[in-house]
Symmetry: C2
Subunit: 322 residues, 2 copies
């Protein structure tokens, strides 16, 4: 029920994915609104509605959403995972509420102090994973190490990077450069059982050699929204400019395939949802503007995370690091 385009786009994308990949799909929410969409989505026997009468609104305080428990579609979805009635949860709704509900109801894995949102996009040299992309605005140095361990497990298991390299987002490449947090985190990351390549800078989120970039959730969220806005601005401007005159319109038409390829590298929708890593369950949150394509990608990512046992890999990595 969450997201700007819910429930239509969410139902459409999830049903398409369930048909293609053959998993059991539970659509949690208002039965009266979901049922009419199933026929249009071509739903088969592996799709079932789990009714929840309430929903969490996009601007509701996490604490308020939490109090309503399993009556909301979001709370009920997390409970299905908690009670082993579902293997993974996806929502395109209120990310703060999702974070609070998943963390409280599922709790964190042993050795993990804080769960973190991890956002992936195709980048230039291969899939890039940034975490924390918004769960923890103020972090302790050792949390960044836990983020790195979790990010490596997800990058390997879901994004298919065989030997993920980890970078620390900072403002200069040398070890000493950065703020108090990165200066303290650097030696901890170097000592961790990961392939740590040192500090990376803002531009490396697109162009760099790291496969997993760790930072606090404040910087991560600012960065994420900036990449999105820059990409939107540039392509939006090109689109508008191409309508100004016949010359530009002809040019845009000719360049379209190339422009689409360029844009795809910045498109978070390729991976559909940001996993909330560190909780005892596979949980993904979608962008507020999640469309059916993004939902399909998120379902694929969730299924891969379950099949590759990313939670087990995180637990193993954390145990090895202690």
């Amino acid at each position: 029920m969450g997201g700007d385009l819910a429930p239509a786009e969410v139902v459409a994308g999830a049903c398409k994915s369930a048909k293609a990949l053959g998993f059991q799909l539970l659509l949690v929410g208002d039965e009266k609104r979901i049922a009419p969409l199933l026929a249009a989505a071509g739903a088969a026997a592996n799709v079932r509605i789990v009714h929840a009468s309430e929903e969490v609104s996009m601007h509701e305080a996490p604490s308020a959403a939490l109090r309503r428990g399993g009556q909301t579609s979001m709370g009920r979805t997390i409970e299905l995972v908690r009670d082993s009635n579902a293997d993974a949860a996806f929502s395109a709704g209120n990310s703060g509420a999702f974070l609070a509900i998943a963390t409280i109801r599922l709790r964190t894995l042993p050795g993990i102090a804080r769960s973190a949102f991890a956002t992936a996009w195709p980048a230039i040299k291969g899939p890039m994973l940034l975490l924390d992309s918004g769960a923890n605005v103020d972090c302790k140095p050792e949390w960044l190490v836990q983020f790195a361990l979790m990010g490596v497990a997800y990058s390997r298991g879901v994004l298919g990077v065989a030997a993920p390299k980890v970078g620390l987002l900072s403002v200069g490449e040398e070890e000493g450069k950065g703020n108090a947090l990165t200066a303290s985190a650097f030696p901890l990351l170097r000592a961790a059982p990961i392939d740590f390549i040192g500090n990376v800078e803002g531009g490396d989120l697109l162009l760099g050699d790291a496969d997993v970039i760790v930072c606090d959730g404040f910087v991560g969220n600012v960065a994420l929204k900036l990449v999105e806005a820059t990409s939107e601005y540039i392509f939006g401007s090109v689109r508008r400019a191409s309508k100004e005159n016949l010359r530009a319109r002809a040019g845009a038409a000719l360049m379209l395939p190339a422009l689409r390829r360029v844009r795809a590298k910045l498109d978070y929708r390729e991976y559909g949802g940001a996993p909330l890593l560190g909780v005892r369950g596979v949980c993904l949150i979608g962008h507020g503007r999640t469309d059916s394509f993004a939902v399909e990608s998120a379902c694929r990512a969730a299924l891969t995370a379950v099949r590759q046992d990313v939670l087990g890999a995180i637990a193993d990595a954390t145990r090895a690091a202690v």
Copy 2:
């Protein structure tokens, strides 16, 4: 003598600007290397070389550069300002060294705890000023208020924004959202004698309503490098893609004027240099890859800052805020 393209591009841009705007230009550095460039640059009587035998390298530690005092071209340039033999200083060199030398030799204005780099770009709705863009990686809340006062004075005096609106870079629009720093800075900014519009997000650096955006220098620097990289990546990819086949090449040629307009909005070179605000002197630092066009822009900005008495405006604003 600083920057990847020095001294040729720096001399060319500065001489062109001195000719166009009619100010007295002092070129500080190795006379043997600068003199031969003057004829090519068409230098007139208002251009003079101030010899300095040494130069600060791009990766030299600020403390080391500082110890060499006025023997380096950078140290000598700052001393010219300190001794009132120059009204403004510009360097395309080592920004850490520039920060250290300017802060120690010139000291900060009364009421200013820390100087800050401010970076401007054209943005979508008008000139955008981001500070701190890299001088102070860890900040106290009251410093952000000082950054705001300084940014407003510069935006009004140099960027020509009549009534600059100030935003606080954070991860959500509501007052409570953000990290410990932004939560503490928010009420201070609201109480300050500025037009504070509240929290803004990463995307607002391009698309938002604020004219001046304040943040700590860590976040500011990450953001700046990210905008630059995203823009470079997109336009670089479009350029490369346009060479792949005749169809795309024809399209790119037709779209070129439109693409250039889009890119200009993200181009820091339009304003040439980042002022170091808060020190007792007009000081601007250029990007490492500063070309002659950027130097011209920086000279114009420096001249405007002097003529509009931005330092006086900062001092007045700080006094009024106490």
